[in-house]
Every structure is written in C-alpha cells, then in structure tokens.
Symmetry: D2
Subunit: 146 residues, 4 copies
Amino acid sequence: MREREAPALREEFPHHSPITTRWADNDAFGHINNVQYYAFFDTAVTRWLVERGFLHVTEGEVICFVAETGCRYFRPLAFPERVEVGMRVARLGTSSIRYELAVFGQGNDAAAQGHFTHVTVSRATGRPVPMPQALREAAAGLMIQK
Amino acid sequence: MREREAPALREEFPHHSPITTRWADNDAFGHINNVQYYAFFDTAVTRWLVERGFLHVTEGEVICFVAETGCRYFRPLAFPERVEVGMRVARLGTSSIRYELAVFGQGNDAAAQGHFTHVTVSRATGRPVPMPQALREAAAGLMIQK
Amino acid sequence: MREREAPALREEFPHHSPITTRWADNDAFGHINNVQYYAFFDTAVTRWLVERGFLHVTEGEVICFVAETGCRYFRPLAFPERVEVGMRVARLGTSSIRYELAVFGQGNDAAAQGHFTHVTVSRATGRPVPMPQALREAAAGLMIQK
Amino acid sequence: MREREAPALREEFPHHSPITTRWADNDAFGHINNVQYYAFFDTAVTRWLVERGFLHVTEGEVICFVAETGCRYFRPLAFPERVEVGMRVARLGTSSIRYELAVFGQGNDAAAQGHFTHVTVSRATGRPVPMPQALREAAAGLMIQK
C-alpha cells in the first residue's frame, strides 16, 4: 500500500454535522461497520443541502446523484459514541461537487475520512444539469485553502 | 382492525433519548421506513443499558436477547427531522424487561409507539439468567403509574 | 410473559421469498439484529406487490403505508445463512391487509414470526382509499384456513 | 472530473456472489442508495471468507479490519432487482488484500464498481499480523491478468 496520509484535524473543516450512532451500526467485531461511515457522509451532505433549501425530497427540478465515494479508516469507533462529520468542498464543476468528509469521535484527529461526489441532475430525466447559482455559492463557501 | 389507542404523549415517558435521522432512513415514498423505528427503539434501550454500565459490547457475563417487539405507526416522519425516543418500563420479570417506547418528531404526541422485550441471558450459553439486581432497580425506576 | 405459541412451520405459508443475509445484519453479539427481521418482512411483502404490479415505486395512484408491525424471536440466525420468509394473509379490510410472516433458516420451524399491516392510501393525499380489486383477489389467494 | 474508465464486464471477475435487494435499499429518489453498494461489497467479501473457513464471527485468532473502500456509480439500480457482485483480488500484501468488486444488475456491464482493502489483524490486539498461508493461496486464486 502507498504511504498513508495522516488523519485530518477538526479545524480543517468549515462545517460540522452531529450524528448519533445506533446499536446496529456495530458489527460482529463490536465496531461501527465500514458501511455506516458512508451513511454518515451521505447524511451530512444531504442534511446540509436540505436544511439550506438546495434539495427537496419530493419536489424541485434538480436533484443530486452520487457519482463516486471513498473512505479510509484510521481507527475504530463504536456505539454509543456520538460522532461529528466534518465537511468541506474540494472541487466545484459545472454540475458536480466533490465534498471531503471526516468522521470524528473523541479527540481532534479523524477516525476515518473520505470523499463524496454529487452530480446535479434533472429530476425528470436523470441527466446532468448545471447546478443552481445559489448552490454554487454556498458550496464555494465550504472550500478551504489547503 | 380494532379501535386504535390514541398516541402517547411526551410526558408519559420518564426517559428520552435523542436520535439524528439519516438520509437513507427515508424510503422511496420519502418517509422514514417502518423498519428504522425499530433501530430507534433498539438504540434507545441499548444506549441506556450501555451508558449505565448494565451491558458491555464485548465483556460481562450477562447480555440481552430480544424476545419480542412491536410498533404502531400514527403519522410519517422524514429526514432530516431529529427525533426523540421516549422510554418507560411496563413489566419486570425475573429475567425479562418489557420496555414501552414512542418516537416523537415535532409536537407532543407520538408519531409511532411500541414495545421491546429483552431477556437477560448468559453470554456463554445464551440461556436466560436472572437479571442483576442493579439493573432491576434501575429498570424499576422507569416504571410509571398508568 | 404470557405462554408463547410454538413457532410456525414452513408449510403453513402459501408463499415464500428468499433473502440473502448481509454481514452488517449481524450485530455485536454475532447474530442477526432484531431490526433486520423487519427489513425481511418489508422486503417479502413489497417484492410480492411490486413483482405482481400492485405497487410501483414512482408511479400509480395507490401506495401502501405501514400501520402496525410486530415480531417474536425464537432462535438466533446469523450471516451468512440464507433465509426464506413465509407469507400469508390473515385479514383483509376495505383498505388494509394484515400479513403474517415467518423467517426460516435451516429447518422447518420459524426462527421468528410476526405480522405486518399495510393500508392502501392515495399517493397524492396519503389518505386511505379502498384497495384495487385485483390486489384484493391476489391477497385473498394468500389466506389460509387455520 | 478526470475521464472516467468504462464499466467492468462480468467476465472480468472470477467469483460472483448473488445478493437480494431490499425495499429499504431504495432511497427517496427510488434508487438503491449509494451506501448500500458498500454493504454489497462487504457481504461478498465476508461471505467468501466465512464460507471458506478463513474468518469466523466469534472465534479464531485472526480477523479482518477494513482499511479503505471506494466506489464509482455508473447507472442506478432499484429494488426488487436481484444483483450479483463480481469479485477479484488486485493486490496481496503481507497482511492486506485489496479486492476489486463490481455490482451487476441486468446486463453484462457493471452498474457500479470499486475496491475494498482488508488488513488481517489479531483479534486480541487489533494489530496487523501476516495473513494465514491458506488465505493467501485462496486470495491468489482470485487474481487476474489485466
């Protein structure tokens, strides 16, 4: 394996989203299962979009499809720990947003971190459409200097 | 169907447990799927047990098996709503606890409510054993006069 | 607790639905988590409805809301066991169907069994509407003499 | 975004694992949620390990931790479609296996594909240990010439 980057720190993310873990998140080895981290990413991104009015579950012409995701796991977490998902925007295209996310338990360094790429599509056709300007501006506000 | 009882109220539960909903909790009809309410029940009960030291994920002679659960659904909830699970104890046996639980979104009346029966078993054999006295006393503290 | 009924047998169900278990179904005690049995029920019922054309994910005037569910657990199952869900109809109302379901692993007696009540509602209003006649007839075909 | 590779084909994978989708896999947009593809990957890999005796849920000195996962999504799938996960080994280290996986619905080209890296660790300490020789040999049997 290639040399692994160090875990990200809390302050490297401009937005944080709290998540309560669930008993069923723990797998048979007593740790939160690798799959659930993607539910944390998905929830942090979608909560931000819905709460700011950029995405509506059943209405609106533009919805978001997921094009690519990934995660690296540094140390295990376990229910009933509460976690926080740090979120920033790494890249903005015409119809795509690449988010970078990290899951924090206790402490300041990420337990896991990854990325999540959304494409804005027409709800009717499922084809990519340029993202609305208000979303572009809000997403740009989550970009950070690295 | 038999006549349905009215939804329970927040103040009928001595203990409340906050849960953050997740994007994937919503099913294709845009509401939190019926299955997830059991994850809420399971999480509220197990969090209470773990945080008070009555249950340990990987250690301890006594663990809890689920014998029976049930839920009635009064009105839909949807992500990104935050919910709260009210919890009380309805019946205490030698090795069983019947919890009653209700899920609250906005408002004071339950969106759904149900029950969850745990049996205390030996981790080694999976056979029922009398529950520890400290657990019995804590559970008795969650019983209410109806 | 009241005296518990014996587990149902495979042949007591006119319809069976195969389900592959998943690693994440196992909880920290190494068994399929109580919550997942409801995903099995939900999947068996909805698969039957969708495959026969009675329910469409995104179209059609009538959809189904879940009004009540319940499950009793007799013995643990674990990934990677494959399971089968037996399904029958216990009661048919104007706009409701009460299904009875049982989960089978190895062997002929149920590992768990329960019920699942659907109400047919208008997709537009979410209010109960009489179920279509074709659904009523198909559901009647799943009733059994007990 | 960088130019995207074409989806993999069924015959590029020496092992295939069938998965039944579940109603709750569909999210509010009526497609299988991005998160669930990782449950498919996790299940295919772990089923292979458990069924061949390389991993035991509650016993054995060596277990596997997940170090890194990723997925690219080409076209949506939806319940009640049955899917198949193709699996091959891309890299074998002293204590790590990088699997490549693809999810197939109808048709011969992948709906989504990704990777999943396991590290063999001591159950007692959680620290990496060299993988057992029998596992190494079986994993080598899943490597393909590209």
